[in-house]
């Protein structure tokens, strides 16, 4: 039964143009960026190796698909939540504004099951978008720019051999999916509260921007409250590239993100089960 409900939600998602915006943006942007790296890569390569060549003898090219993906992830990471909210914000509120709930919720299926199916569909969409991002960045980058050792900058220069880099990227994308599920849950919560698809997007993005400001601005007051904001852990994906991997910190971050997610979902289910369908 649940799978059929989730299938319904996926059909509805696939019937909306906004669902494809994220895929189209990534599908166009990533090849463009990678092409830019390919044609102008020598300049990037010089800038990176300039520092390295002072201390190391660099053999071959360190500018490869791995490094390109790592750079792209650093640049684009704060923009991905917006693409997620386009669907997560609309999945409940959109039915409210379209009036379709007045038929969908008169069938003998509990509201809890219907909301759960919407949540699972949102999560599937979120995971699919990140996987697509991974394919377009890491997959295409590896094909175009080749693979090799990965240079990352964390407390100095860290060079990860090619065979380890693959695993680190896999871990990094798994963390990314997890973080984006938290963002999706936040937007989903707002979506249960209103009957228009724009409000939840604005609400979720506002929370994320404020949270990122708190998490990144070097102010004393923010220092104290920073650990309690989920946005502090939004770039947990980077920790997959540290050596050794800080599993203890990652575990703590995941715990806080899970608590936030549970809170967002608790509010979502409480609101939706009591909601009067008036549209």
């Amino acid at each position: 039964m649940m799978w059929r409900l989730v299938k319904n939600e996926l059909i509805k998602i696939s019937g909306k143009r906004r669902s494809f915006i994220g895929f189209i943006v990534i599908g166009i942007l990533m090849p463009l960026i990678l092409w830019g790296f390919k044609v102008g890569g020598s300049q990037v390569y010089r800038e990176i190796t300039e520092q390295l060549q002072e201390n190391f003898i660099v053999v071959g090219s360190v500018f490869n698909g791995f490094l390109a993906t790592y750079i792209v992830m650093n640049f684009l990471w704060v923009h991905i939540p917006f693409l997620i909210t386009l669907v997560a914000g609309d999945i409940v509120a959109g039915e409210g504004s379209a009036g379709t709930f007045r038929i969908y919720l008169t069938r003998p299926v509990s509201r809890g099951k219907i909301l759960l199916s919407k949540l699972l569909a949102t999560y599937i969409y979120t995971a699919a978008l990140i996987i697509f991002f991974a394919i377009m960045s890491l997959g295409l980058g590896s094909l175009w720019l080749g693979t090799g050792d990965l240079i990352v900058f964390h407390k100095g220069i860290l060079i990860l051999p090619s065979e380890i880099a693959w695993m680190r990227f896999a871990l990094s994308f798994i963390f990314s999916i997890g973080v984006m599920l938290v963002v999706a849950s936040l937007c989903f919560m707002f979506s249960t509260m209103v009957n228009n698809g724009i409000g939840p997007i604005i609400g979720a993005m506002a929370v994320i921007f404020v949270g990122l400001a708190v998490s990144n601005l070097p102010l004393d007051f923010f220092e104290k409250i920073r650990p309690y904001f989920f946005t502090t852990y939004i770039d947990i994906w980077k920790e997959a590239f540290y050596d050794p991997i800080p599993w203890r910190e990652i575990g703590k971050s995941i715990l806080i993100l899970v608590i936030y997610t549970a809170g967002f979902l608790g509010v979502s289910f409480a609101v939706f089960s009591r909601k009067d369908i008036l549209t």
Binding site: N8, K12, G15, I103, T106, D276
Partner: protein
Amino acid sequence: MSEVILRIENLTKSFKDRKVVDSLNLEVTEGEVFGFLGPNGAGKSTTIRLILSLIKPDSGDVKIFGKWVTKHRNGSLQNVGALIEEAAFYKNLTARRNLQILVNLGGGTNRRIDEVLEIVRLIDRADDKVKTYSHGMKQRLGIAQALLHNPKLMILDEPTSGLDPHGIKEVRELIKSMSDDGITVFLSSHLLHEVEQSCSTMAIINEGRLVVSGKVKDLLKQTDLFTTEIQAQPIEEAVSVIRQLDFVKIVVVSEESIKVSVSKDDLPNLTTVLVEKGIKVSAIVPRSSLEDFFLSLTVRDDG
């Protein structure tokens, strides 16, 4: 005696400080076409949403097929189909996909999709996106949605709203065919004519309260006289003829028509007499005095 399949008990709902439904009690028995009548804003749609558990009552409850909606929502709604106001769809999907979504919710079968599309005469447009449908087609598709799981009780809220005369006729025919198939119909409307034509029993509500309920024919008996507009030439001769008839009372005479009070049974006699006297009758427009009755029951005291 027919079984009561829908019972509304002391139903009350307020939005902020305004009572929209106020201690409402109603019963609908199996097999009837029940008219739920009231002016705009009387609380009809809110009552229907309460019946369908789309909104929660402040107090009272609704029993459908012996199950209370607030306690056994899923069981009570198992055999209920509904079309609430304007039909709403996933417009970027086809009609068939829209129905498939409801099948996936556990109502009906894939084979039934074709059957209901045949019933509402949309089978040829089944694979077109709903956004290309006219308003009338959407209302018919809404009825198809409601019929999909073979309901025993059909709740229709203003099903002819916004339709042209042809669309209204089609929806009325569908209601009749549902009734012929043994489906109990709960028809909400603010149009007296619609209720009068389609329903066997009716209730009138105003400001959330029940004003009157009963068999339509019994309520009509209470208001036996009909106001009828007659368009005839020459108008003076027609007036003269009508004045000689003791079963007709002239209400108003204008340059083009005469409004008279005449019982439903005597209306054919009036027509015959006028024609026999050589008067050219171009139109006879009956206007039920039920309308006046309705207005007298539901008029707001604005003074």
